[in-house]
Symmetry: C2
């Protein structure tokens, strides 16, 4: 081995690693070779964005940290680097993009993204507050598995994300299960990538605020095997509305998921060990799943639920809604939690639904937050919901 | 429920979903509102790229499908859409980006990416050949888990990716294990995201060309808990070279990984049930792990291995290399496979290494391919290596 001469391994590899992106650079004007840091989170939690764009005339940064109408024009330095520094920002997981002479683009110096339907934005996390729960911290971590279950009712195998808590593999005990449902446009990845569900759960368990539990995140679009890029459709442009998302089929075939989980994991396979919660369309699914199987879940969470009549849909799932709610009520449950933001476009629908529940004497806990129909709220709701689970005396 | 009026749920949600990216649109010139398809794979396997950029002066597409020097200038249509159509392309998983007036950017209409160290490029898959193995096909799928193991030797918990084959959960049998190692700049995600390891394995098992096996993909950077964004460092700009990647620590603590896997999975915990393979730095690790534990692995694969002297490094792992190779040889093994591309910068180092093995009478199989130090080659090598595993009579 000693005689094998080999000198510039690292240099050569370094060049090779960065070669693909400039493979045809002989054709191209160059402008992205400078090594810069963007975004940079400053000590006061302000953020500096930078972009190397010597030929650009006007560059903005746009993102959900801006107050509507807030100026976000970047300034060009002499070396072709544009920059913009925000005010100190409250703790949150933000998304952003650049706009260069009218063209929206991602930050080439930031490798962290989140996809929402067909758009992809860069991520940015400000700690020292609520978003500390969204961080990977030095705490024990659960296992996240992507696996496939046979859905006879939908005649396909379907992908599912399952979180098991720290210690699951080493213990012999059984765990309660939260079924956590995504919204329209989401899939079995949404609660992990946009919702930071595994980080929130790891952190709350570590803080002693949530009990160790299994979290099951199925794909609620029954026409889909799996998230975009993960099914036999491979790479295609995701679309917002899929067929059969709210036609009763998901609710009808939901028992397949419960059976799969109970047969593959050490669960507490009874009502006291089961919770179901969902956001938007997933709140709709939660409402219907929990009353359609009216003695199955002890903990129910509606996050900005898409409460809407499904009168045009022919499905036995949406028949006898009032009667099944009465049954659910008389069966009893430990928690029925309804959360919504004041600016949510579903706010009035939720008020109407609560009035209906009030008329029925159907107990629930109501949580009204600021803001609207956003992942920011759904992460907050999850972090408030988990501590209330599986603690019935 | 019938009286809860609710009319434009889908429209409202649609607007909301696409709102974040234009949240401060009052500040911004608009240019990305047109719904276009890019990339579009045509019937003859040519590809049409499109970008809405009405203000741009010159737009190129750049990617690893181009022949060096090939012209890739896009043409502006009257509606501000630039487009470029390639020649029919051979089956492959390609990466690409746009270059707009000197600024490299991702395709805003393509949500599929791969990260390699600190750069992120769009993905594009052409089937009808080798890359059919890289597709998600309608075949049984294995489970992919991200979990954490305790590394006492590195004094941290570390993230690891584990693939179990279709049927693992339902069977009671034990499976052989391939330890599959990444290169410098990679991590426990690289073989999944860049190497398409789960797709290749699912497909080869389904075709009866590979036996069902567990594949373990650890993180070979022992200074790291986990891939960028997945450790307690959270979001930071990844760098190419990390400390302690080739100083013996990984090889020394590798038995912890084997013990973790053997104690958490139904493995065949003996030499005949173990393979180890890796690319570049992972090939270096494979060479040393397989001879440092000289009676542990029956199948060894060096893919474009970074064969290099580590004379400046003080580690008992790199002492007595020749003697341990002799021991490994006399212990015997089922397969020692060395693969490299003719244009690889490590080509000569691999020739020298083979000459050394020849002098020692150390048996191996040599596979020389076209091309260089690329994921294209490593996916091909994996698809050729898997069928040779665990079939010793």
């Amino acid at each position: 081995m000693k005689r094998i001469y080999f000198i510039q391994f690292f240099t050569a590899l370094l060049v090779l690693t960065f070669l693909p992106k400039v493979q045809s650079q002989e054709n191209l004007p160059s402008g992205q070779r400078k090594e810069i840091i963007s975004p940079e989170i400053n000590a006061d939690n302000s953020v500096t964005f930078r972009l190397v764009a010597p030929n650009a005339k006007e560059v903005f940064v746009t993102g959900d940290f801006l107050i509507p109408g807030e100026e976000s024009k970047m300034t060009k330095e002499s070396d072709g680097i544009w920059s913009y520094t925000t005010q100190p920002l409250p703790s949150e997981l933000y998304t952003y993009a650049f706009n260069v002479d009218g063209l929206q683009m991602n930050d080439p110096n930031n490798v962290y993204y989140r996809r929402d339907v067909a758009s992809t934005l860069n991520l940015l996390l400000i700690g020292d507050g609520q978003a500390d729960l969204y961080k990977v911290n030095s705490v024990p971590h659960g296992t996240v598995s992507k696996q496939w279950y046979q859905s006879s009712g939908n005649d396909m195998t379907r992908r599912i994300t399952i979180y098991t808590p720290p210690g699951y593999e080493e213990s012999k005990t059984s765990y309660p299960v939260l079924y956590l449902l995504h919204g329209m446009g989401g899939d079995e990845e949404a609660w992990m990538t946009l919702g930071r569900a595994s980080q929130i759960t790891d952190n709350l368990i570590d803080q002693g605020k949530a009990v160790p539990m299994i979290i099951v995140m199925p794909n609620g679009n029954v026409a889909q095997e799996a998230a975009p890029g993960e099914s036999s459709l491979n790479f295609y442009k995701p679309q917002f509305r899929l067929p059969h998302t709210m036609d009763g089929k998901y609710e009808e075939t939901f028992q397949e998921i419960i059976r799969f989980v109970d047969s593959h994991y050490r669960t507490i396979p009874e009502k006291s060990g089961r919770a179901v919660a969902g956001l938007s369309m997933g709140g709709f699914h939660t409402l219907h799943i929990s009353r359609y199987y009216p003695n199955t879940f002890d903990y129910i969470g509606l996050f900005s639920a898409a409460i809407m009549p499904n009168e045009e849909v022919k499905s036995k799932v949406y028949e006898d809604i009032d009667a099944t709610l009465v049954t659910q009520k008389s069966n009893g449950y430990a928690l029925y939690w309804i959360a919504i933001g004041k600016e949510d476009f579903l706010y009035q629908a939720n008020i109407d639904f609560r009035e209906k529940l009030d008329r029925m004497g159907f107990p629930y806990i109501y949580r009204e937050s600021e803001g609207g129909h956003t992942w920011r709220n759904w992460r907050i709701y999850l972090s408030e919901f988990l501590p209330m689970l599986f603690n019935k005396k």
